[in-house]
Symmetry: C2
Subunit: 211 residues, 2 copies
């Protein structure tokens, strides 16, 4: 099946949204926890968190203007902090429910039944139920000229993770944490490991790593 750009542009709006959202492959599922200057907590699911670098530890997130995550973005700008909380199988429906358009005064934590939790390091709420939580400090934001989305870059300032999931070489076993992946707009998946593969070298076939 061959689909051209002009066909994509002619797709019905929601059909196109589902289709194009499926193209990049599996996506991360994370809840962004923030707090307003007035102390109102906010929680929003995003599938747009991506790794940007390890030295220093940086992550990027895309926020869509006028989306349900707009309050999160505004809170990040005003406080300079946010949390990233991996979504796992036990609460993926509650996580998805945070994408409803609640009023600014509503706490999505309360509405969907998740528990805010605080650390001394930053004024943004973690999700107690999450098994891998990251405290983030805002580094920069920019509006991407191509479509008006906001690219937020943040630095990891602390991590909470179950010790048993961290392997001897630093790799974290996401399957063990029951972390979910997203495809398209609304489908959630568990991951099943095929293998870890060795560092690739020219003319030497990769082998499986047992860690």
């Amino acid at each position: 099946m061959h689909i051209t750009l002009s066909q994509i542009n002619d797709f019905e709006h929601l059909y196109r949204t589902h289709f194009v959202n499926s193209l990049s492959g599996y996506k991360s599922a994370n809840l962004i926890g923030t707090q307003s200057k007035q102390g109102l907590v906010n929680l929003a699911i995003v599938s747009s968190v991506f790794h940007l670098g390890a030295h220093p530890p940086l992550m990027g997130t895309i926020f869509r203007p006028n989306s349900v995550a707009r309050h999160s973005f505004e809170n990040i700008l005003s406080t300079g902090f946010y949390t990233i909380n991996q979504v796992s199988t036990t609460f993926f429906k509650a996580a998805h429910q945070t994408s409803a358009r609640y009023e600014r005064e509503c706490s999505e934590f309360e509405e969907v039944g998740l528990t805010p939790e605080f650390s001394d390091e930053l004024n943004a709420p973690y999700v107690k139920e999450s098994r891998l939580k990251i405290g983030m400090e805002l580094v920069s934001t920019q509006t991407l000229a191509e479509n008006g989305t906001e690219l937020v870059i943040g630095k990891v300032i602390e991590v909470f993770v179950e010790e048993a999931a961290v392997k001897e070489d630093g790799f974290i076993d996401l399957d063990k944490l029951n972390t979910v992946a997203v495809s398209g707009l609304d489908r959630y998946h568990t991951g099943t490991a095929l293998a870890r593969l060795s560092y690739a070298k020219p003319f030497k076939p990769v082998t499986e790593i047992k860690v």
Copy 2:
């Protein structure tokens, strides 16, 4: 287990790379196909392709300076085109092998045993074995000041996908295509669907969608 930024900075280099690369959650696995001005084809696996918008259809990709994907990045700059090819279970080891540091004159297609395939729309090779292939036109590049990585934004100009995987509402069934996800630097996974969830509305629990 609570890990602070100063502990992360004190981690041994490779340990830190594995650890931080695991934090964002599951990542997409895609092969980037490019061609030099001289007609040499190049193929590189990346886990940094992300959805940027559907109207127009845009995707972002992060390229690390001096990484094995540097030839891909240079080719994109010089030709203005590239392909994104989802990695599936049948060739994930060959895909991983493209991350070896081959000389510029080497074709990774030949070295790892994948097949280049061309369309009339762009001068970049597709991976014949891939079950979801996207032709991309370069829109913009920028060097991110935070760590010198390159953000490449491209527009989808055509898509090749197996018809049976495209659902009636435009959603593409990645499990059916045996698309793999990556975690950390080197672990590959299949996805198993938990559910598709309805569009979330305040005060109305989400339900499962049967599509």
